[in-house]
């Protein structure tokens, strides 16, 4: 309120014009110059005049990702004259609940977890995005139906509606390694989990440390472990068991889940296998943990982490050259195909706003995807984008893993109720790595889940 009044006063004084021109971000790729980009999709927005309108976007992206998302927004701002105020937070999950409860939500919220978006939708805090966007997603995203399902929640009245639009997807089943280190030591990229385990033993036998694992993430500490467990679930059980686990149709301390946790423990709780030993795993920040790949001599040889992690690699590390990835392989003995675990950020409208709807519309254009693809850390299921726009072979290769998947499943912890997927599961994994048995940790999570029902 005060800001908008103030803006009017300042506008009268001609101050905003000066500020605006100083603040406006430069476009990273000049319009019309690079033919990798679908510049034509910008035309519709140039006809739109949203000058003087502000769109507040609140999301989980900070530092590098914040710059990147702003570089995409810049084109929308340039075309329409609207101003997008993006705010990022490390504790998005808590802050968005506070903002909604306080009655001052942003216009658009970018949820890293559909579970939380579904929670807010059921409280009536999200606006339905409309049939046309739902239809668009179905038709233009690869495996469109699954993305629509992941964005469809029950509203306050219990009616299901399309509330969440996915933009920026992550593939999680990746193992990062240094091709140079592998070549120097004569290691081959493993094709099966059995080979991966044998390779880890080989590295130890050669006097090296196979893995870097870090679970630290401020007040979200523990989540990287949940990705491990989920990836292993998909490699040891049928997808239907995974779905039952997510829906709490089987208890969390089911032996099949406990087995997955123990398999994760065979990596993380093995002092010889992880840099810093088991006690370093829980306290090392996930953003610092890949550092070992780049140390000389190598602090570790492999790091299992999602496609976003290059944002946290040293600045001079070149993807494909200094560091590359391979697919986190399945067990040959299990015969479960090539499952892929993924996640994505889902946009919800927390405050009805026509300009914000235009922004969502802009996010469906190929250009809005290509701008980010051409930089770093962005994957998309959008089938209408030019794959040449991917900045490098690494990103393009991740796109291929997505396409070759026989099973695709969304991050389980993101689909579980918030108190579990963003609480008990995280702390349970920290307790497990800290010394608790897998049975105890799983039973603790199960107890927390039961107490919610």
């Amino acid at each position: 309120m005060i800001t908008s009044t103030l803006r009017r006063i300042l506008l009268a004084l001609g101050v905003v014009g000066l500020l605006g021109s100083a603040v406006a971000q430069d476009l990273v790729f000049p319009i019309g110059e690079d033919d990798r980009f679908d510049w034509a999709s910008l035309e519709r927005f140039e006809a739109l005049d949203l000058t003087g309108q502000t769109i507040e976007v609140f999301g989980p992206w900070l530092t590098v990702d914040e710059e990147l998302v702003n570089s995409v927004f810049a084109y929308f701002e340039h075309a329409t004259g609207a101003e997008i105020e993006y705010a990022g937070s490390d504790s998005f999950e808590q802050q968005i609940v506070i903002d909604v409860q306080a009655g001052s939500p942003p216009d658009l919220a970018v949820f890293p977890q559909p579970g939380l978006a579904a929670d807010l939708a059921s409280q009536g805090a999200l606006e339905p995005l409309g049939a046309s966007l739902e239809q668009w997603t179905r038709e233009n995203y690869a495996a469109g139906d699954s993305w629509v399902d992941l964005g469809t929640y029950a509203g306050e009245d219990g009616e299901e509606d399309f509330y969440g639009f996915f933009y920026k997807v992550d593939v999680k089943s990746l193992v990062w390694y240094s091709p140079d280190n592998f070549a120097d030591a004569g290691y081959e990229i493993p094709e099966t989990m059995e080979e991966l385990i044998a390779l880890s033993d080989q590295i130890v036998a050669d006097g090296g440390t196979p893995w870097c694992i870090g679970l630290g993430s401020g007040d979200a500490t523990g989540w990287p472990a949940t990705d491990w467990v989920e990836d292993i679930m998909l490699r040891t059980q049928e997808p239907s068991v995974y779905d039952q686990w997510v829906e709490h149709a089987i208890p969390f301390d089911d032996p099949r889940v406990v087995n997955a946790i123990q398999t994760f423990g065979s990596f993380a709780k093995n002092d010889a296998w992880v840099q810093g030993g088991a006690q370093g795993v829980a306290s090392t920040d996930f953003r610092d943990s890949p550092q070992g790949l780049f140390d000389v001599p190598p602090g570790c040889y492999m790091h299992r982490q999602a496609s976003f992690i290059p944002s946290f690699f040293p600045e001079d590390a070149e993807l494909g050259l200094d560091v590359d990835f391979f697919y986190f392989p399945p067990f040959e003995a299990e015969d479960l195909g090539r499952p892929v675990l993924g996640a994505g950020t889902v946009w919800g409208m927390t405050d009805e706003n026509p300009a914000a709807r235009e922004l969502l519309d802009f996010l469906t254009t190929p250009l809005a995807h290509e701008i980010w693809m051409a930089q770093s850390g962005f994957l998309t299921p959008h089938s209408g984008v030019n794959l040449d726009a991917y900045a490098n072979d690494t990103l393009r290769g991740q796109g291929e893993i997505l396409r070759n998947a026989t099973t695709f499943r969304f991050d389980a912890s993101d689909l579980m109720p918030g108190a579990i997927g963003a609480g008990a599961f995280w702390t349970g994994m920290v307790d497990y790595v800290g010394g608790e048995s897998a049975e105890e940790a799983a039973a603790g999570i199960e107890e927390a889940w039961q107490s919610l029902e």
Partner: protein, 337 residues
């Protein structure tokens, strides 16, 4: 940046303007509305008494309103929420309370809060008193005092970030960037992931608060020490009392009420302790405290308002006796004057 500064300035001017207008305006209005009157038979009726009765309430009204909106209403609402379900609807009776009593996480938080209460106020006060007493005896005392006081100026989260680096852990063999592990390794020991070592990690977190609060205790106690009459100390010395005897038998009793004030103030800070735990461990590795548990239950992953409210009330109930004691002592002292 300029926009924020202008916003702040605008807010300050508007707030002061509104207050001045309210006090002058309401005063003026009262004098106009409740006037002295001459009745029909010509006698003069003074209504000064009515005006005097209304005026204080007029002046108190804004404060009462703000207190009501920001203090009384939230307490009542929290109490209401504690009997309701996840999203604040659906009456569940005492279910949230029985949950809190039986929940391991809440129990750990209560246990840790009690330990924090025992350790932090006492250590801060003792260290503060030590520095206040001893710093005056050396030439560089003022420098020492400034250094001890400085952490007071750092926010809890800022302090946590500093101490995060003190406790930082890297695997054995790699270079230790945490000073504590660097020392341990230099002395030939094994590095430790300090903040994960139960139960000692609790004490390592307490160190941070002691580090911050010692400065506060020192400043207040230092002022109190100055207030101790020289004659009493001299008299004791002449009677042959040692330094230690003077300190414990003459000085301490005379500044005892100040020590209590410092103690209770820090106690209340400790009851609300949240930032340090949230920033360092988020309550993991058995370091949960009530305020952090409350925040997590209230807001994390969609939140559970009933359970969050119960924990909030537990904190409030724990503060009440200390507040009551403080107020009673304050009244006694006022009465003595």
């Amino acid at each position: 940046m300029i926009e924020q500064v202008l916003s702040a300035l605008l807010a300050v001017v508007a707030a002061i303007g509104a207050s001045v207008t309210y006090f002058y305006g309401s005063n003026w209005l009262l004098d106009r509305l409740v006037t002295d009157r001459r009745t029909a038979d010509g006698t003069y009726v003074s209504r000064q008494k009515t005006r005097d009765a209304v005026r204080p309430w007029l002046f108190l009204a804004p404060a009462l309103l703000v207190l009501g909106v920001y203090l009384v209403y939230p307490v009542v609402e929290t109490l209401r929420l504690s009997f309701f379900g996840k999203s604040g609807d659906g009456f569940v009776g005492l279910a949230n309370w029985t949950w809190a009593v039986g929940n391991d996480g809440v129990r750990t938080a209560v246990r840790n809060n009690v330990v924090w209460l025992l350790v932090v106020p006492s250590l801060s006060t003792v260290f503060g008193l030590l520095v206040a007493t001893l710093a005056d005896r050396v030439a560089w005392g003022n420098v020492a005092k400034s250094l001890v006081f400085m952490p007071m100026a750092i926010s809890f989260v800022g302090a946590s970030v500093i101490w995060k680096f003190v406790y930082d852990y890297r695997g054995a063999g790699s270079e230790q960037i945490g000073i504590l592990n660097a020392l341990v390794v230099a002395l030939g020991g094994e590095p430790q992931a300090w903040i994960t070592v139960e139960p000692w990690n609790n004490f390592l977190l307490m160190v941070i608060l002691v580090w911050i609060q010692t400065g506060f205790a020192m400043v207040i106690l230092s002022a109190a020490l100055r207030g101790v009459p020289e004659e009493t100390i001299e008299a004791a010395r002449i009677d042959g009392a040692s330094d230690v005897a003077v300190f414990f038998r003459i000085i301490i009793p005379q500044i005892f009420s100040t020590i209590l004030v410092v103690w209770t103030t820090i106690t209340i800070v400790v009851l609300k302790i949240f930032d340090i735990v949230a920033a360092m461990t988020n309550g993991q590795w058995g370091t949960e405290v009530l305020a952090n548990a409350m925040y997590n239950w209230m807001f994390r992953g969609g939140g559970h308002f009933g359970r969050g409210s119960v924990i909030a009330l537990m904190i409030m109930i724990a503060v009440i006796p200390i507040m009551a004691y403080n107020i009673r002592r304050f009244r006694e002292e006022e009465a003595r004057r």
